[in-house]
C-alpha cells in the first residue's frame, strides 16, 4: 500500500502527461489537441511539485511564524511551477488565438483536413 501511496503523485502526473500525449497523438480536433497540450503541462507541473515535496512538511512561507528551514518542503520547484504555469498560459492563449485564425481560414478544426502544407 505504502508503495502506491508514496508514488501516488508521480503516477498522477505521469498519467496526466500520458493522457495529454494520447490526445495529441490521436485526436483530430484542434481544440482537443490544445487541451491535450494543457494536460501535459499540468502533469509536468504536478511532477515538479512532487519532486520537491517532502511528506509531512509545510509550505515554505517564512513570513509565517514557526517555520524553520528544517520543516518546509523544497521551495525551488514551487517557484519553477509558478513560472511554468505562466508560460503554459501564454502558450495556451497563443494556441487558441492561432486556432481561431486557422478555423477562419480552413472552416474546420480537423487536423487531418488541414494539410495545405506538406512534403
Amino acid at each position: 500500500m505504502s508503495g502506491i501511496y508514496n508514488w501516488m503523485y508521480y503516477i498522477a502526473s505521469g498519467g496526466l502527461i500520458l493522457i495529454g500525449l494520447y490526445i495529441v497523438l490521436v485526436k483530430t480536433n484542434l481544440i482537443k489537441i490544445v487541451i491535450g497540450l494543457n494536460f501535459i503541462d499540468t502533469g509536468i507541473n504536478i511532477l515538479l511539485i512532487c519532486i520537491g515535496y517532502v511528506r509531512g512538511r509545510t509550505a515554505p512561507i517564512f513570513s509565517r511564524p514557526g517555520i524553520s528551514p528544517a520543516n518546509v518542503v523544497d521551495p525551488v520547484p514551487q517557484a519553477l511551477v509558478l513560472t511554468a504555469i505562466v508560460i503554459g498560459v501564454a502558450v495556451l492563449a497563443l494556441a487558441l488565438s492561432i486556432v481561431i485564425k486557422v478555423y477562419q481560414h480552413n472552416k474546420t478544426l480537423n487536423v487531418t483536413k488541414i494539410k495545405g502544407l506538406k512534403w
Binding site: L21, L25, K27, V111, T112, I114, K115, K118, W119
Partner: protein, 619 residues
C-alpha cells in the same frame, strides 16, 4: 612573387573587367584582351624557372597554400594562357550580338585564372580550391547562352561535383595520414604507403580528374556542354579546361605516386596501368564512333574531344618515356587543333546566323577561305596527317603501344583514327565543300579579330608538325622532373635509337614531289574556271540548293554500326537520376502534413532512445 603576380593579374583582371564593363563596353573589351595578354607574357617569362612560394597560411588547419612552377606546370600554364588569350580575342567580334557581355568576359578571365591556379598550385588544398573555382565558373559560362545550355550546365556541374567530392575525400585522407598536402613532401612520404592505399588514392583522383577529362564512363556531360556553350568558350573548354584532367593524372601518377609504386599495383593482367589503358581505349572507340553519327558540328567535335582524351590516357598510362611524352604532347596538340576547330565552327555560326546543323551548310570555302584553311589544318591535326602536330604525338603513342606489345590497344587506337577521318571529313565537306546554298550567297569572311586567332593556331599546328622538337624539348624536361628517362629529341623528329621519324625529310619529299607535279600540271593544257552550277548532271538541269549530298553522309555505315553505338552510360545516368527522383519523392512523403503523425514521430524518437537504453543498454 612572380607566380602570385600572375594569379593576381588573372583574378583581378576578371573583377575589373566586370566593373569597367558597367561604364564602357569598349574599355572592357580592350581590358579583357590586355589582361589575358599580360598573363601570357607573365607565364612565358617564367619559362625554365623553378619557383616555390607559400602565399597564404591557414593556421587553424596547420596548412599553407603554396604555388610552384616546374616544367609540367609551366607547360600547362602556357597552354591555358595562350588558348585563353586567343579565345578572348576571338570573342571580341563573335560575342558582339550577345547580351551580358560584362559577365561573359569576366567569367572567361575567371575560368582562366582558376585553371592557372590549378596548374600552378604546389599543394592539394590550393589545387582543390582553384579546381572548384574553375568548376563553378565553367558551369556559369556553359549555362550562359540559356535554352538548352541550362541543362548542359547542370549536368556538367553535378558530375563535376561528384568528381570534386571524390577528390576531396582523397585529399583529406592524404592530409590525415601524412599531415601535409604539398606535392613534394607527399611524393617522398607516399613511397612507404601500402599499395592498397595508393590504389584507393588513384581511384579517387581518377574519378575526380577523369570526370573533367571525360574518360569513359564519366564522359556524358561533355557533348552537351561543348555543344551548348558559346564557341569561343567551347574552344577553351575543349582545348584546355577538359585537359586539366590530364594534368591531374600526370601530376598524381608520375609526379607524386611515381613509377615504382605504379608498377606494383596489380597482379598480372589486372594491372592498374593496363586497366587505365583499356578505359582510354574504350573512350577512343566510343568517342570517335559516336562522333560519326552526329549532325551538329559542335557535338561532333565534342565527341572527338572524348575520343582524343582516350589517346592521351593511353599514352600516359604506360609510364614509358615515349608513352608519357606522347600523351602530354597529344594533350598540347589536341588543345591547339580542337580550339581551332571550335573557333572555326564559331566563325561559321557567326556568318550563317548560328547554324550548326551540318546538313544545312555547304560550299563555304568560296566565301570563307581563311576559315576553311583553319578547318582543314585543324582536322588534319585531329587525324594526325603527317606535317601537322597531331601526327607526331599519335606516332609516339602507337609506337609505345606496339613496343610494349599491346597490339590490341594499338588496333583500337589506329581504327579510332580511321573513324576520326570519316567524321571529320564529313565535318569539313558539309560545311565548306559541295554546293553553296543560295541563302549564303552574301556570306563574307569573318573580321580580322576572328581571323587572327585562327591564323595563329593554324600556324602553330604546322609549326609543331614540322618542328616537333620544340614542344618535345619541354616535355623531356617534364619527364626529367619526374625522374623518368627523358625523351631525347632532335628538332625535326626522333633520333634513330627511338624510331624512324624525320619530319623534314618527309616535308622535303612531299614538297619536291608536289612542285614537280605542279610543273607538269602547269605545262599541260590549261583548264577553264567554272562556277558550281556549271557541273555534270547527266545533261539535266541543276536544281539550286538541291544538288548537294550531305544528309546521312555515311548512311550504310550508320545502319551497320548505329545500333551498337548508343551511349549506354548516359542512359544509365538518366535512369539513375529518374529513379533517385522518385525515391526522393517517396522520402519526402514522410512529411505528411498531419500534425498527429508529427507528434507520433516525436514520441517514437523518445521511445526509441529510452527503449534502446533500457532494453539493450546501447549507449
Amino acid at each position: 612573387m612572380q607566380l602570385i603576380t600572375i594569379l593576381i593579374v588573372a583574378f583581378l583582371g576578371a573583377g575589373i573587367v566586370y566593373l569597367i564593363g558597367k561604364i564602357s563596353g569598349k574599355a572592357r573589351d580592350i581590358l579583357a584582351v590586355l589582361a589575358s595578354l599580360i598573363v601570357v607574357i607573365l607565364v612565358s617569362l617564367a619559362y625554365n624557372q623553378k619557383i616555390y612560394t607559400s602565399f597564404y597560411p591557414l593556421p587553424f588547419l596547420n596548412l599553407s597554400l603554396t604555388l610552384r612552377i616546374d616544367p609540367l606546370s609551366w607547360f600547362f600554364a602556357i597552354a591555358v594562357a595562350g588558348i585563353g588569350f586567343l579565345s578572348i580575342l576571338f570573342s571580341l567580334e563573335y560575342m558582339k550580338h550577345y547580351q551580358k557581355l560584362d559577365f561573359y568576359y569576366s567569367m572567361m578571365l575567371f575560368v582562366n585564372a582558376g585553371m592557372l591556379g590549378v596548374v600552378l598550385s604546389a599543394d592539394f588544398l590550393s589545387l582543390y580550391i582553384f579546381w572548384e573555382i574553375m568548376s563553378w565558373s565553367t558551369y556559369l559560362l556553359i549555362s550562359y547562352k540559356g535554352g538548352k545550355a541550362v541543362g548542359a550546365g547542370l549536368k556538367y556541374i553535378v558530375m563535376s561535383t561528384v568528381g570534386s567530392i571524390a577528390m576531396l575525400f582523397a585529399i583529406v585522407s592524404l592530409y590525415t595520414s601524412y599531415g601535409t598536402l604539398e606535392f613534394s613532401s607527399l611524393a617522398s612520404l607516399l613511397q612507404t604507403a601500402s599499395s592498397g592505399y595508393i590504389l584507393f588514392l588513384l581511384i579517387m583522383f581518377i574519378i575526380g580528374f577523369g570526370i573533367k577529362n571525360a574518360i569513359w564512363p564519366l564522359h556524358t556531360w561533355l557533348p552537351d556542354a561543348h555543344a551548348e556553350a558559346v564557341s569561343p568558350f567551347s574552344a577553351v573548354l575543349s582545348g584546355i579546361l577538359v585537359r586539366i584532367g590530364i594534368y591531374g593524372f600526370v601530376l598524381v601518377m608520375y609526379s607524386i605516386v611515381g613509377l615504382n609504386l605504379l608498377h606494383k599495383l596489380g597482379y598480372g593482367l589486372l594491372n592498374f596501368n593496363y586497366i587505365l589503358c583499356w578505359i582510354g581505349a574504350i573512350s577512343i572507340i566510343i568517342g570517335t564512333f559516336i562522333a560519326l553519327l552526329q549532325d551538329d558540328d559542335k557535338r561532333l567535335l565534342a565527341w572527338h574531344a572524348i575520343g582524343q582524351g582516350g589517346y592521351m590516357i593511353l599514352g600516359i598510362s604506360f609510364g614509358t618515356t615515349l608513352g608519357i611524352a606522347g600523351g602530354i604532347f597529344h594533350t598540347l596538340n589536341h588543345c591547339i587543333y580542337i580550339a581551332l576547330l571550335f573557333l572555326v565552327t564559331g566563325a561559321v555560326e557567326y556568318r550563317t546566323g548560328g547554324v550548326r546543323d551540318l546538313n544545312q551548310l555547304g560550299g563555304l570555302i568560296k566565301k570563307m577561305p581563311v576559315t576553311f584553311i583553319g578547318g582543314l589544318i585543324g582536322i588534319s591535326g585531329l587525324i594526325g596527317i603527317p606535317l601537322t602536330n597531331g601526327f607526331v604525338s599519335k606516332w609516339l603513342i602507337y609506337k609505345t603501344l606496339i613496343m610494349e606489345k599491346h597490339p590490341f590497344l594499338a588496333f583500337v587506337a589506329l581504327i579510332g583514327t580511321w573513324g576520326t577521318i570519316l567524321s571529320v571529313y564529313k565535318f569539313l565537306h558539309n560545311i565548306f565543300l559541295g554546293q553553296l546554298p543560295e541563302k549564303y550567297k552574301d556570306v563574307k569572311e569573318v573580321p580580322w579579330a576572328m581571323r587572327l586567332p585562327m591564323i595563329i593556331l593554324t600556324s602553330v599546328i604546322i609549326l609543331f608538325g614540322i618542328l616537333p622538337g620544340i614542344p618535345l624539348n619541354v616535355i623531356s624536361g617534364i619527364e626529367r622532373s619526374f625522374g623518368i628517362k627523358p625523351l631525347s629529341t632532335i628538332i625535326f623528329g626522333m633520333p634513330r635509337e627511338i624510331g624512324e621519324l624525320n619530319i623534314i625529310n618527309i616535308l622535303a619529299a612531299i614538297v619536291v614531289a608536289g612542285v614537280f607535279i605542279y610543273l607538269i600540271f602547269s605545262l599541260s593544257t590549261r583548264s577553264r574556271r567554272v562556277n558550281q552550277y556549271d557541273n555534270y548532271a547527266a545533261g539535266s538541269f541543276i536544281p539550286k540548293d538541291k544538288y548537294q549530298y550531305s544528309v546521312r553522309f555515311y548512311d550504310p555505315v550508320y545502319r551497320i554500326i548505329g545500333p551498337y553505338l548508343r551511349d549506354v552510360v548516359d542512359d544509365f545516368y538518366y535512369w539513375l537520376v529518374e529513379k533517385s527522383k522518385s525515391f526522393f519523392q517517396g522520402v519526402r512523403q514522410i512529411y505528411t502534413g498531419n500534425v498527429n503523425t508529427y507528434a507520433l514521430y516525436i514520441l517514437l524518437f523518445l521511445a526509441f532512445l529510452i527503449i534502446t537504453k533500457i532494453g539493450w543498454g546501447l549507449w
